[in-house]
Amino acid sequence: MKVPTEMSMAELDVGQPGEVTRVAGEDAITIRLLEMGFVPGTRVRLVKRAPFGDPLEFQVRGYHISIRAAEAARVEISLSK
């Protein structure tokens, strides 16, 4: 049996989906992450890591976005199922 786990979006495995629970921080980057669609309840998926390990490519709200691990770490997710 699996319990929903709290972790950050940067810790996902490639191909693994998760659901946004919260975006941490109180600055312009947080606002931008939220406005780009990372609001609670949204499903995200890690598509790929760049060849040098960073940045990461996510699928969210029907599009793909590249975000550095440092910023992606602000997006807290739960692993549903």
Partner: protein, 693 residues
């Protein structure tokens, strides 16, 4: 219905906004700049075939994801839409990507909340249909309270219906946010001093500005607005911001469910399916990097090598023109002014056109097809170490060919500060005009076996220095955090060549008109400095034809006297007044160093025949001691000086043009010359101390 109106064209990046602008205006528009900063603006009249007697001005705003600006170009779009009533446009044409409404509708809600009459263009509706993502436009129009028109910007479908809808569309304030407590409280506070439309827009900007008052938009807020913001505790402001964004996205989800009842999920990305397969190769750990190297090599070759014949042709035409003018007018001061000043100066401007056009052609095609975003994705890790965005890579690489187009191409970097850092780094990259200097010095003073190592060292030195300077500027003068990378990787699409070519011509014309005058003026000033006072001995022989007489002219000129006066300063770095004249002359363009040096040594046409100049330098002796006048160490010091010095007025002219200030070009010239001098001094004196002659 209004007969005269101003319509702002807004939308996310990569939604076909430019295509639509070109369709509606028939590609007839003015390129300008929004006041203060170099963010390009395009403004055009809607062509008569669509306008049908009305006078509609269309203003193309920079692409935005939201009205909360984090960069200068976003701030301009946001300021125009959210500004006080007088500056606001009469209507907004909002372009949405019909294949990605789950994100695009967010901006739509935000725009509608501003209360401006809005017409929505549901663009790429053909692709959306092909992917089974049809939209019930009537439902969307009713729910948003605005006109919605399906368009295909590539072919012009929907353009007429769109224009007809301008002026027909009601202004409407979006839904309220009942039940969201902190937000409601914050809005009530704001609404005491401003309209509710402005209040809603202000919530997010206020929250972002609280944490970072250097945010570009903060300066645009009025004092009462700043006072209203400071009334609210920061955590409350932030909670309100979270609530507002979440509420809007809930509304987006509700709309999606209403307009696409049969679509199973908002999370899948069907239009990305084929792009993912392409990315399987293009951003692959191994193949992706290999292909990246190939693509960059092609761009580099284009501006480094392929532009050469075109540049040569421009120079030949100018030389031919100068010769004919000289023949027509006969020898004299006016002839010299026209041929060596004006025509040569015009040539100095036009000679950059091939490189600029080629660079923007490649960048435009790569951007439109979606690869430029991938290039930034691949390179971001390396650029982030310096403190820059992945987008800074291509401009820096272009700097190896020529700083002028490279600096122009920094417009893709949205943060003004990071763009400035990149602009300051670019002239350190060894451009193609420095190569003849290295080649001459190496050929004259080094053994053939040493040449390769020396040349490679110069390029390595320039690269390391550029990156180091970027690192330093990012932490001192232009201190700022590494900009967050939030870069959409759009679906791959075939670029539309006519749009790219229009952009190439805009950028080229902008350079010729904007920086051309200054380059021309500088050429004339330099010509005068190296030609006056006129020598008396040259009365009977044309100065152009007699190299010895020309050498004398230069020696006696103000420029020559200046170089002689500089000799005490040049001595510690191992140079004499001849090299000094070369340095002064090369300011017109680095490659002029070689020909000026030729003239000083009394050799004509040193551009074509480097051998006599090489031998002249190699065999030059000190008249007193008989020792060689130039040594390896002196040559090395000279090359190191050239690695760092900004000996290029065209670069400075372009920096002035791009930053709209004299501060930056002056800083660039002074700091680079100082660094160049210090490094040359280090090499020469250090070398002597170590016992090298």
């Amino acid at each position: 219905m209004n007969d005269r109106m101003r319509v702002a064209l807004a939308g996310n990046p990569n939604v076909g906004k430019t295509s639509l602008f070109n369709v509606l205006t028939g590609s007839r528009y003015k390129v300008g700049n929004f006041a203060g900063v170099t963010v390009e603006s395009r403004e055009g009249q809607v062509s008569p075939r669509y306008a049908r007697g009305r006078d509609i001005t269309l203003v193309d705003l920079p692409g935005i994801y939201s009205l909360t600006a984090t960069s200068e170009d976003e701030a301009i779009a946001s300021a125009m839409l959210s500004g006080r009533e007088r500056q606001q446009p009469d209507a907004v044409l909002l372009v949405l990507d019909a294949t990605n409404l789950a994100r695009n509708l967010y901006l739509a809600l935000q725009t509608v909340e501003l209360g401006l009459p809005t017409v929505v263009a549901l663009n790429m509706s053909d692709i959306a249909k092909r992917f089974g993502m049809s939209v019930d436009t009537e439902v969307l129009a009713r729910e948003l309270g605005v006109n919605v028109v399906e368009t295909v910007a590539r072919t012009g479908v929907g353009a007429q219906a769109l224009v007809d809808a301008f002026g027909n569309t009601p202004a409407r304030l979006g839904n309220g946010f009942a039940g969201v407590s902190t937000l409601a409280r914050v809005l009530t506070t704001f609404e005491r001093t401003m309209t509710s439309a402005r209040a809603r827009w202000l919530v997010l900007t206020a929250a972002a500005a609280r944490a970072d008052s250097e945010l570009p938009h903060y300066a645009l807020l009025s004092p009462p607005e700043r006072a209203a913001i400071s009334e609210i505790a920061a955590p409350d402001l932030f909670d309100a911001a979270r609530e507002l964004i979440t509420a809007r996205y809930h509304e987006v989800d509700r709309l999606l469910a209403a307009i696409r009842p049969r679509e199973p999920t908002r999370d899948g990305a069907p239009t990305m399916a084929y792009s993912r397969r392409i990315d399987g190769v293009l951003t692959h750990r191994v193949f992706g990097l290999a292909i990246f190297v190939v693509v960059m090599t092609v761009i580099f070759q284009a501006i480094f090598t392929w532009a050469e014949p075109l540049m040569g042709a421009i120079e030949s035409i100018m030389a031919w023109l100068a010769a004919h003018v000289a023949e027509l007018l006969g020898p004299g001061l006016l002839t010299d002014l026209l041929t060596q000043g004006v025509i040569h100066g015009a040539g100095n401007v036009l000679v950059f056109v091939p490189q600029i056009a080629l660079l923007f052609l490649f960048i435009g095609l790569l951007e439109d097809c979606g690869y430029l975003a991938r290039a930034a994705f691949l390179m971001d890790r390396l650029m982030a170490r310096v403190g820059l965005h992945g987008k800074a890579f291509v401009p820096l690489l272009s700097g190896y060919a020529c700083a002028v187009p490279a600096i122009l191409s920094t417009r893709t970097i949205s943060s003004m500060r990071d763009r400035m850092v990149t602009i300051l780094m670019i002239p350190f990259m060894s451009c193609s005009a420095r190569l003849p200097v290295y080649a001459l010095v190496i050929a004259a003073l080094f053994e053939p076996s040493e040449g390769g190592v020396v040349l490679t060292s110069m390029y390595a030195l320039s690269t390391v220095s550029a990156l180091a300077m970027g690192f330093v500027y990012k932490r001192t003068l232009l201190r700022g955090p590494t900009p967050p990378l939030m870069l959409e990787l759009p679906p791959y699409r075939l670029p539309k060549l006519s749009n790219t070519l229009a952009n190439v011509s805009d950028r080229t014309m902008d350079f010729v008109k904007g920086a051309g005058g200054m380059i021309l003026a500088c050429t004339i000033v330099l010509w005068a400095l190296l030609s006056f006072p006129r020598p008396t001995i040259a009365e009977d022989s044309s100065t152009l034809e007699n190299p010895q007489a020309r050498a004398t002219t230069i020696e006696q000129s103000y420029g020559g006297r200046f170089a002689r006066a500089l000799e005490p300063v040049l001595e510690p770095i191992g140079q004499d007044w001849r090299m000094g004249i070369g340095l002064v002359g090369s300011f017109a363009a680095r490659e002029v160093f070689v020909s000026t040096l030729g003239l000083v040594h009394g050799i004509e046409n040193s551009d074509d025949q480097a051998t006599p100049l090489r031998d002249a330098i190699r065999n030059a002796r000190d008249p007193e001691t008989g020792a060689p006048r130039y040594t390896k160490l002196k040559g090395l010091a000279l090359m190191v000086f050239f690695v760092y010095a900004c000996q290029c007025m065209s670069t400075l002219a372009v920096v002035q043009r791009e930053t709209r200030s004299w501060r930056w070009p002056v800083f660039m010239f002074v700091s680079m010359t100082a660094i160049a001098y210090a490094m040359a001094l280090l090499v020469y004196e250090g070398g002597r101390w170590l016992g090298f002659a």
